[in-house]
């Protein structure tokens, strides 16, 4: 279907478009960042995710960052209700979702206002013209319509009658106004898909699955999508489309994946490899609930998902399941970690394998539930009473969540210990292409339950790993009791012997410290033999740091990057690697928690680079800070 150009409106805009960036059809771009922003009911997350899928299918490298309010439906049209989704797609390797959008799609005045500061001069802004009504302008706090007062002159503004065009396209569908209005996101998706030459087949397939049972809605959404696509092609507003050629990516089969989905799949893979059922005990909490949702849909593996009455029951049920021989996990976010702490201590003491997944969010207290932070590191290390060491692993990218979840299970089972897996809200909801692993080549996860009663003692340890036997109920002759009370070496009987208590505490600490021998050698990106400065990071800051360091190295600066996934124990060689550099900077989204560990454990005079805004580092922020440190 082709729309006449007259239907477009916003004729003034076309000069801006034709005049600057967009010159001819099929113009090449290496990298584009699109941000979809609208009211939280406008379906911007969906548009963003489908656009991401289309870009992945087009062979680009991608990274995404959703940004949505904690309120499910904040008052429509207000700044508080603005929901955004940013995708960076490129023919080069992508490390972050991009500092600033090349293109901002703003579905209403509030979306424009909330995002305008991030758009660079001469950036493209596409707005739904009709949404800039007096009422909406007022809700967003505008006294004048910014589309008419020249305040946006430094940008390229495209005023599209999204609402009217969608309504026209759907006039014969018989849907009411509200249902038609809800298809605006598909119109916009179609339009942007045309603009960047994205194949829309994956979105068509998705819609066909989503609306299988409601053919009228399927028809309407497909019509809106295609209307948007054809509008882009037909209108004279966009003088050209862009081509972002495929990236040179490692060959293989890919899918697009979010961190939470990758986390869930990592646990499934580990349980399958271990040959044991997976048990998840969890209480819903943002941004962790998607792991529960994903696993609840996979009962046939078999997977038990227990939606517990509270956070404590979530971890407690996992401990019970681990006692019974399942691969047992619990998932939560910051506040839940505090509630689980006592039970995690029991798992430390009884040496049962469970995984506690903390999908970190901005705190303290309820904080900003949908925004990422890395401020639970020290709580993970030390946030329990008594001497209670636990391995801590942190994922670096959405796809890396798979590997880290898998590794967490492997370590837990091998060493008979609880393991904390840290991700965060950025990884959880961010997405990237994932090279599907070869299932047969995943590391072995060996579960060997003790069965021989001869010489069995509950705390008789493996001489190498120091792990105790996993002796599960149902095994004849191994009946025994474990518990939280201090217990005697080997027998596990209650013991208040002072020397024995110290022995047991030190033995558990040695067991965890010993995991370091399995940690791969620390990789230095940059100057392997040392240089002026190294940025040390962990977790989701990987992309921003890597991109910043790459850019600085491109300018000839002696800057390197080390990123750790194992936070407890830290790699044995880390201190020596850091000492090769004149300056060590620890960049993290907290007040300096890994910094504190590095300074305390290594006596290295490292400096911090910290951000506590519930937002990832921008590459430019890191680059500026590194530059100042180098010059200071």
């Amino acid at each position: 279907m082709a729309l006449p150009p007259e239907a477009a409106g916003g004729a003034a805009a076309s000069t801006a478009l034709g005049g600057s960036t967009i010159r001819k059809r099929g113009e090449h771009r290496d990298s584009v960042v699109v941000r979809f922003a609208g009211d939280s009911g406008d379906g911007m997350q969906l548009a963003g995710m489908q656009f991401t899928a289309e870009s992945a299918m087009a062979g680009n490298d991608i990274a995404t960052l959703p940004d949505f309010p904690a309120e499910i439906r904040a008052p429509a049209g207000t700044i508080a209700g603005v929901s955004g989704f940013q995708v960076n797609f490129s023919s080069n390797e992508v490390f972050t979702a991009g500092d600033e959008p090349t293109v901002l799609v703003a579905m209403n005045p509030a979306a424009l206002k909330a995002n305008l500061d991030d758009v660079p001069p001469n950036g493209v802004i596409i707005v739904d013209k009709e949404a800039f009504s007096e009422a909406n302008l007022k809700k967003a706090g505008y006294t004048k319509n910014p589309l008419n007062d020249n305040s946006l002159d430094k940008y390229q503004i495209f005023q599209v009658d999204v609402t009217k065009l969608t309504t026209n396209a759907l006039h014969d569908t018989g849907l009411n106004n509200r249902a038609v209005f809800r298809c605006r996101n598909l119109f916009v998706l179609g339009m942007i898909s045309w603009l960047y030459q994205r194949p829309i087949e994956s979105t068509v397939n998705w819609l066909e699955g989503r609306f299988k049972k409601t053919p009228d809605l399927l028809n309407a959404n497909l019509k809106a999508l295609k209307a948007g696509y054809h509008y882009g092609e037909t209108t004279e507003m966009f003088a050209s489309s862009y081509e972002v050629p495929p990236a040179r990516i490692v060959p293989g089969v890919y899918r697009n994946i979010t961190g939470n989905s990758a986390t869930a799949l990592g646990f499934v893979a580990a349980a399958v490899k271990a040959g044991r059922p997976l048990f998840l005990g969890s209480y819903p909490i943002t941004p962790a609930s998607d792991v529960l949702h994903d696993l609840a849909a996979l009962k046939n593996f078999p997977i038990y998902t227990f939606q517990a009455e509270d956070e404590i029951a979530g971890v407690a049920s996992a401990i019970g399941a681990a006692f019974g021989g399942s691969i047992a996990i619990t998932t939560t976010s910051g506040p839940g970690m505090n509630l689980k702490a006592e039970a995690v201590g029991l798992a430390v003491k009884t040496e049962l394998p469970i995984i506690i997944t903390d999908i970190q969010r901005a705190g303290p207290s309820t904080g900003m539930p949908t925004k990422p932070e890395q401020a639970d590191l020290l709580a993970s290390m030390y946030g329990r009473h008594g001497e209670s060491p636990i391995p801590v692993i942190a994922a670096t990218t959405p796809a890396d969540c798979f590997d880290c979840a898998y590794e967490a299970v492997r370590i837990a089972v091998k060493y008979m210990t609880p393991v904390i897996l840290l991700t965060d809200g950025q990884l959880a909801n961010g997405a990237e292409p994932w090279l599907l692993p070869d299932v047969d080549k995943l590391p072995e996860i060996k579960v060997e339950f003790r069965t021989d009663p001869e010489g069995f003692l509950p705390y008789l340890r493996d001489p190498e790993t120091l792990s105790r036997p996993w002796a599960i109920p149902g095994t004849p002759g191994l009946e025994h009791r474990i518990g939280g009370l201090s217990s005697e070496d080997q027998t596990g009987n209650i013991s208040y012997s002072p020397a024995n208590n110290e022995l047991m505490v030190r033995t558990r600490a040695r067991k965890i410290a010993g995991i370091a021998r399995e940690i791969p050698a620390t990789q230095i990106f940059g100057d392997a033999n040392g240089g002026d400065l190294v940025v040390l990071g962990w977790g989701s800051t990987y992309g921003s740091i890597r991109e910043s360091v790459k850019q600085l190295r491109g300018k000839g600066r002696s800057v390197s990057h080390i990123h750790v996934r194992y936070l407890n124990p830290l790699p044995d060689d880390l201190a020596d690697q850091l000492r090769k550099f004149k300056k060590v900077m620890v960049a993290e989204m907290n007040m300096g928690q890994l910094l504190k560990l590095v300074r305390a454990d290594y006596l290295i005079d490292a400096i911090g680079c910290n951000k506590i805004q519930g937002r990832p580092f921008k590459v430019s922020e890191l680059t500026n800070r590194i530059t100042r440190v180098l010059e200071g």
Binding site: M57, R255, K299, N300, A313, A318
Partner: protein, 332 residues
């Protein structure tokens, strides 16, 4: 063979460390005595407890045992039972552990009807922490933490369990060995969460709290042994009963025109009756026996059934196809 097991097979090698004279000894003895009758192998039996005097229990049972943390035994036992439906899982808790710090887990475990045998030792006091009032202590109770008398209104464990939609609720008392044995058997035979309140004397911090119920001289007039299908009769000479007067129960002397047929006949499936009996307090006698017993699908069975059905419908999980689900593309 399981059938060949005796009491001593269930006695662990650990020295029992309750205070001499504690009511817990009698309960332990009864449980150890009754276990062989169930014909379940020791290795299939697990005792899970929280914290408190009662929670030492698992150490003394020669089965699998888990002495966990304060209040969380029902949650830990739920994870175990759901993932290991083949096991016979018991929870041992107390009035502080089960009704105060762990109240949330207890009520949710009961409403879900997880197939657990829950023994709540109620001594109406905190023993392990040396004598503070508990959530079942009576108003006015003078303890170290309530020198002017407690102003806390107590929970009624039976009615709390009924209110939490428990499917099996009974009450017994530590010294009534035979009755206790019967209740344990009934609780074990029930499929689902069985809630057993065991009134238990703490001879150190709350000695004699159940004397009326247990003293040979007085108990016949204070105990009301309730049995399904039988009229509510009590008293040394079995000459007293409970009848309805309007919408309220009252104790009556049999004779003088009042006969057994005027009395309430106990019905374990009548929730309203169970609540009413649970509410009995002096001068009415204290009911002992099964208040309520109905059948409802258990949580663990329902969940395992969902897993089985998913497997039957979709086949066993296939990791390779799961990882490649959705839009995939090949880079050459």
């Amino acid at each position: 063979m399981a059938s060949a097991l005796s009491r001593k097979d269930f006695v662990s090698d650990q020295e029992v460390r309750w205070c001499p004279g504690c009511g817990d000894y009698a309960i332990l003895a009864q449980v150890q005595k009754i276990m062989p009758e169930f014909g379940i192998p020791r290795e299939k039996t697990v005792f899970v407890s929280g914290i408190g005097c009662s929670s030492r229990f698992p150490y003394y049972m020669n089965t699998y045992g888990f002495h966990t943390i304060h209040g969380r035994a029902p949650a830990i036992a739920t994870g175990l039972k759901v993932s290991r439906p083949d096991l016979d899982v018991w929870v041992v808790t107390g009035d502080g552990d089960g009704l105060s710090i762990g109240g949330n887990h207890l009520i949710h475990c009961l409403r879900r009807n997880v197939d657990l045998k829950i023994l709540l030792f109620n001594n109406k006091i905190y023993g392990l922490t040396k004598g503070q009032y508990s959530p079942t202590s009576e108003v006015g109770k003078v303890t170290k933490s309530s020198p002017a008398g407690s102003v806390d209104y107590p929970f009624n464990p039976v009615n709390l369990a009924l209110g939490a939609s428990a499917t099996f609720v009974c009450r017994t008392v530590d010294v009534e060995q035979k009755h206790q044995g019967e209740m344990l058997k009934r609780a074990h035979a029930h499929r689902g969460a069985s809630f057993v309140e065991i009134l238990q004397n703490c001879n150190i911090f709350n000695d004699g709290v159940f004397n009326d119920l247990t003293d040979k001289q007085t108990k016949a007039d204070h105990q009301l042994l309730i049995e399904h299908g039988k009229p509510l009769i009590f008293g040394k000479n079995r000459d007293k009963g409970i009848r309805m007067n309007g919408q309220r129960a009252e104790a009556v002397q049999l004779g003088n025109g009042v006969s057994e047929k005027d009395l309430i006949v106990h019905d374990e499936t009548n929730l309203a009756l169970a609540f009413m009996l649970g509410q009995f307090e002096a001068p009415l006698p204290t009911p002992l026996g099964v208040f309520y017993a109905v059948s409802r699908p258990t949580y663990d069975a329902a969940m395992n059934q969902q897993l089985e059905e998913a497997k039957a419908k979709q086949g066993a999980g296939d990791l390779k196809s799961l990882l490649a689900r959705g839009d995939v593309w090949t880079v050459k």
